[in-house]
Amino acid sequence: MRWRKKKRAAAVAIDDLVRPVARGDRFSASDLVSEATSDIGSRPGRLVMTILGTVLGIGSLVATWGFAQTAAGQISSQFNQAASTQVSIEPETASFGESSGALGRIPWDAPERLGRLAGVEGAALLSDVQLADGVTITSVPLNDPSAPATAVPPVTATSADLLEVVGGEMQTGRMFDAGHDARGDRVAVLGTRVAQKLNIARVDSQPSIFIGGTSYAVIGILGDVQTNGDLRDAVIIPTGTARHDFGLVAPAQVIAHIAVGAGPQIAEQAPLALASDDPDSLKVRAPKAGSTLGAAVQGDVNVVFLIVGAVSLLAGGLGIANVTLLSVTERTGEIGLRRALGATRRQIAAQFTVESIVIGVLGGLIGAALGVLAVVGVAAIQQWTAVVDPFVAVAGVVVGALVGWVSGSYPARRASLIEPITALRAGG
């Protein structure tokens, strides 16, 4: 560019006519910006109409982004890791007239079978033990007829790996092991709340509870669990013991702790591993692939709002283009004057381009602010945590500038092509 200018200037020297202008005194970028912006606010009403489209477009884009982020945050907090890594399998049930029965049967070695599947990190059987009517659970051997009647806590039979599967820890004492299970030892682990009801706080004194008069050694008290919270209210005994003492015929369900994201695959494989002859007889509850749920929700929201945003932006751009074109026509006199005073075509084009970029930036700023405000407002009403990436607001302004630039380029070109003669005669 510079080279070309030099070469042209060499063709006709105008040094006799025109003195050289020091670099600092030339028409600079700041001159350009001040010339382009000085008249923007002179018609507030028109300015509002001009930027409205851009405001709406940028606003809905920023809001979309913010809503998607907020919703994603909301979803991931609801579907925490513990819930998304547990699979439970139980027999399908079918009703025959009035009675209903299980269609399938979970084998006793279900935990071992599931353990062989990739993605399974631990599995345990879980069955409610049906106590005969009138059977009580007490911490003293005698049945005190004067004691107030209390609800009998549920008895749950499970395998030794339960803690790993439900993400639990012992408050005190220990969990029973595979040996207890295999031998059918009369040991019990108490849920926190059952232990309170039975007045058992420590196990070093080897307390016992009595289920229907039979003594079970309490070897531990369960602390917190991440899933299967009803274990806090249960008396937990080994599955082997339940088979022996209470005639448990089959496990009610098997639960497994799985790797994140393994849900869909294990849901397919587990029934085959447990009941290869009739996999449909088992019902599997497995989490969907962690991200698909969030992504699905996000996707729905995004598509709608992105379309709305894009359409508004298009309308906004056309608005700026129209008004700039109108203002070029109105300011023909000014353009002619500037050209007569020595403005080049490029300077005229730049002036109108910068003017519409500034209008676009203005629209972007207001739009981004309104979009963020909308996200924060909705989040406050829904009691969500508003999540808005600051980058989105910045991007909104940049997109606004881009819209202004693109839509101002045609009017600017028109302005630069105006002949000063016609312009000055047009009056002013």
Binding site: R8, F27, E35, L341, R345, I421
Partner: protein, 224 residues
């Protein structure tokens, strides 16, 4: 006296149909420091003449030399630079920017002509003082009388210290009294060495110039 303006066989025709020859083989020489009026009825080619002299238009045929430089060889950007530094314009309808103060109107041409930034405010103030409007510097054009507006326009035209002032019907929108004021101002400027070319259809205005050129149907003739 060296010639500042030298038109040789300048013809400007506008393609039709019908083709119009607004200037026909015009020859004119104007020396530096002269005060010349170009008089003619409307449609005689006056405005075409002004546009060519002001580098706002190019001759179809012929050469226009300004200060010894043949202008047909100038690039667009060079022509803009010459307009900015060498030529000042005054128009019938003033062409002031209504949303800027008198002072800012006078400041504007200096961004294009490249007057050193440090001198601009001082020069604008001086130019306003010279046209007798120093007390109106913060007014807006809408509040001024026609005569005052034209004086602001003259201040704007001379603020970059041009060699040539072109005025297109400068008194066309003014009454007789303010016309007189404006013409006196022109005479003052000319006395200070500024070359002045005034285009008018008004005989009285034309006669105040030292030299008068009549234009009729695109042809020039000296008025004796």
């Amino acid at each position: 006296m060296t010639a500042l303006i030298e038109l040789s066989d300048v013809t400007r025709s506008f393609p039709g149909p019908p083709e119009v020859q607004a200037l026909r083989a015009a020859n004119l020489s104007i020396g530096a420091g002269e005060y010349v009026s170009i008089i003619g009825p409307s449609g005689s080619g006056k405005s075409t003449m002004l546009n060519i002299l002001g580098l706002l238009d190019r001759p179809t045929v012929g050469e226009y030399s300004l200060g010894g430089t043949p202008t047909s060889k100038l690039t667009e950007d060079q022509r803009a630079a010459v307009r900015a530094q060498v030529i000042g314009f005054v128009f019938q309808s003033f062409h002031l920017m209504s949303r800027r103060s008198v002072f800012d109107n006078v400041m504007m041409p200096m961004t294009y002509s490249g007057v050193p930034r440090a001198e601009r405010a001082e020069r604008a103030a001086y130019a306003l003082d010279r046209v007798g409007l120093a007390h109106r510097r913060d007014f807006f054009p809408g509040t001024l009388s026609g005569g005052e507006k034209q004086r602001v326009a003259i201040a704007r035209a001379v603020v970059s210290d041009p060699k040539l002032l072109l005025a297109d019907e400068p008194t066309g929108s003014l009454d007789q009294r303010t016309s007189g004021e404006v013409m006196e101002l022109f005479e003052d400027l000319n006395a200070d060495g500024l070359t002045l070319v005034i285009i008018t259809h008004d005989q009285a205005v034309a006669e105040r110039a030292a030299r008068s050129v009549r234009i009729s149907d695109g042809r020039l003739s000296e008025v004796e």
